[in-house]
Symmetry: C2
Amino acid sequence: NYSEKVMDHFTNPRNVGEIEDASGCGTVGNAVCGDIMRVYLDIDENNVIQDAKFKTFGCGAAIATSSMATVLVKGKTVQEALEVTNKAVMEALDGLPPVKVHCSLLAEEAIHAALWDYAEKN
Amino acid sequence: NYSEKVMDHFTNPRNVGEIEDASGCGTVGNAVCGDIMRVYLDIDENNVIQDAKFKTFGCGAAIATSSMATVLVKGKTVQEALEVTNKAVMEALDGLPPVKVHCSLLAEEAIHAALWDYAEKN
Ligand code: FES
């Protein structure tokens, strides 16, 4: 009951890893299942996201949404990236089962936390 | 807050995969988080588990406990394997945070389901 795109981003996740000296880094926890997610962003002097990486202890849905979310925010400005909601990420993945919607929030919250970390530093 | 053994079995899981024409196969779902787990067992004519593999969409804790559980049941008889509880698996992993205990049940339940599948077929 998972879409082809979810299975693709789960079995072959994009942008897994860390960025050393990241412009912004955000770590969030999931109250429902106890999982954690960390997102690293590399942002240039024009506020454009040049690179995005993530690490998670979360489930397949968390991996697939983080993979797609990092793909979507790359090349966007900080302002544009703030508008990439978990809804947009789920649409790009052709949907998620209702029970897994909370997992998709991890990616959105971690990206927001990383953007705030960047804003605070600049 | 995860033990070294949990991180080891999460980042380098043992026995991920499928067994074609398995002696027993069990699939279970987790009511807490909606994740799924499938375990395949290859059992010889003396009721000894020769091979065990798993696939899951679950989180890091589910991956680590399934990895350890499949390691523990290999070489055991069906009767011995039924006594490998999630508690024993968690002990072998030097513990899990309380919020992730439900994840460790997936491995135990899937192994039991695979053992029942084998029993039904024989
Ligand atoms: S949160 Fe679903 S298996 Fe761990």
